[in-house]
């Protein structure tokens, strides 16, 4: 049985990592290199680095910080933020990244998903989707949640799947940083629309939330506040999930 993964998310802003609520109100949570060293020691399954300023300011420190991060990270890690071209992906992989996350780029220049998948393989591409709930639908947002698109969640999931994304990362802006649990309805809709592994993100505040995410069909649970703002770490989370019956990595 495929092991379920717990993926800490590190949001990069300038030289530091931060965490906010609903994509705003960011608090400093540390130094990216030291944070990687900590998650490495705690044997996190994977890491997700997202440069939240890249698509907003057009500048990215990703490659520069990545080279220092990759010296620390023995676990696979994915990076995202402002990626639009295969050349950028090539540079990030050369700097040590195992996968990339493409969110805004997948909306504004969808062909980048298939280009990267064809060149580096689907396993290298995580397609990101940030959504807000609007009544009974989920609207897709881009540019770190600042710009609303006309796209609807399930249509967008299907499209990214067809373009060759290896995994879908679905993130609720409403739940982000609130620590009240994942948006399980959002997750269910994403899972329903694809056979690709779905990573759920946004809202995990305790281990039960991780369990709920996995029960609702997520292959992996991504979280930030859970580890930044609580007495939690990946080994404790793994022990919890093991006790409730999920296969997780044994260290």
């Amino acid at each position: 049985m495929l092991k379920r993964r717990i993926i800490p998310v590190l949001l990069l802003r300038g030289d530091r990592v931060v965490k906010g609520k609903q994509f705003t109100d960011y608090r400093d949570t540390g130094n990216p290199v030291m944070a990687t060293r900590v998650y490495n020691a705690q044997a996190a399954d994977e890491l997700l680095f997202l440069d939240i300023e890249a698509t907003v300011t057009g500048r990215s420190r990703l490659a520069e910080i990545l080279s220092r991060v990759s010296e620390e990270a023995f676990m696979p890690f994915a990076v995202g933020g402002g990626i639009r071209t295969k050349a950028e992906v090539r540079a990030l992989i050369a700097a040590g990244a195992d996968k990339v996350v493409i969110t805004t780029g997948a909306v504004e220049r969808p062909e980048v998903v298939s280009e990267v998948a064809e060149t580096f393989g689907s396993q290298c591409v995580i397609a990101g989707i940030d959504v807000r709930r609007e009544g009974n639908r989920y609207a897709v947002y881009v540019r770190s949640g600042r710009v609303r698109t006309e796209l609807e969640l399930q249509d967008h999931v299907r499209k990214l799947d067809e373009l060759g994304a290896g995994e879908i990362l679905v993130n609720s802006i409403d739940q982000d940083g609130m620590m009240g649990g994942y948006d399980l309805d959002m997750l269910a809709r994403a899972v329903e629309a694809t056979n690709k592994p779905v990573i759920v993100c946004g809202g995990a505040g305790n281990f039960r939330h991780l369990e709920e995410g996995l029960r609702a069909g997520a292959h992996a649970v991504a979280c930030a506040s859970l580890f930044h703002f609580g007495d939690n770490n990946p080994p404790r989370a793994r022990a919890y999930l093991k006790n409730v019956g999920f296969p997780v990595k044994t260290v």
């Binding site: 900590v38 020691a41 705690q42 505040g205 039960r208 080994p235």
Partner: protein, 399 residues
Amino acid sequence: MRRCRRCHLPETYETIEFDEDGVCNICRSTEHKKVIDWGARKELLDALVAKYRDKSDYDCIVPFSGGKDSTFQLYYLMKEYKLKPLVVRFNHGFMRPTVRQNAERTLKALGADFLEFTPNWKLVKRVMLEAFKRKTDFCWHCHSGIYTYPLQVAIRYNVPLIFWGEPLAEISHYYDYLNDEIEYEDEAKFNMCRNLGITAEDMHGMINSPEDPVDRRDFIPYTYPALKELKRIQYCSVCLGSFIPWDYTKNSEIIKRELGWETDELEGVPSEINGHGEKIECFMQGPRDYIKYMKRGYSRSTQITAFHVRNGRMTPEQALPYVMNEGKRPPSLDVLLGYLGISEDEFNTIVRATEVSPYHHDYSRTDEAPRLWDQDLWHKEGGAGDDEASRPRVFLKVV
């Protein structure tokens, strides 16, 4: 809550897992402790000591609080191996009078050089509040400093061998005896389970602001030395408990008999189960254990009786009443609130947010643990915990 059918540790205990018989991984690991070839381990220790003896101004560094484990470490190394240690204490600011007396008695009796370092209290208060808000653990300065500072001393004095005490396998499953490995206190272990996942570099950025700047240098005592510095002195940082079987009760009996080491009351814990003197070195232990109870539904009595059960000194049935009767509010909480500068409501709100499922704390509970004999002797701020009416007339401990 689901509990280990043997030691009663609940499912909210960190890194606990249960097997098909309902027994926890920590109990299973301790079973393995009994079949380790301790004779072979002792030979490893002999070889290690021989390798480092007389190579420097000191044979080794012994990080030392004066509590039961570090006192035994020091006693064992000096008696068994006639080592010349440099004893190093990182003072977290909450040393209790009995432990101070114990430390002085031990150091005089054994005859060792002793260095004590006490960090900037103003910074300590700021990081206490920050760590409490983020992790509901106000002890970041201690978790970090006790592991980083002795290594900095090791580098400064060029003493490569550092002996820590109890193995982590006794208390959690980050490491276990099943691995049959020597436990190194290195940076990976520090980051995995010592420093709350917050390094000095992280913490500095978290509290530094233009309005209230923090000197980066104030964080040096909490910074793990660079690997290249440690490698330069060819450091070897190990737990003594990897080489000799660690038994809290026996170790305490030895230091009591040989050094006159005294135990003390531990807030919220019946003295009859803590004859070995666990956690008596810190007067903020009561609030620590209380927070644990509010989050996880177990506290120090459960942890202590779990040791006794695993070591065959108590039956699970004998332990149960202690497990069921803990979690009382410690009077020392007022002292902590004075340091943090927050109200009890604010304190409760922060803790409530990090409750560990499936435990759910009853915030209407009002029962209070007995006040410790020495509470009136502690440093206090904000007038907290300093109630004139409840202050005893006699300030000296009645022995």
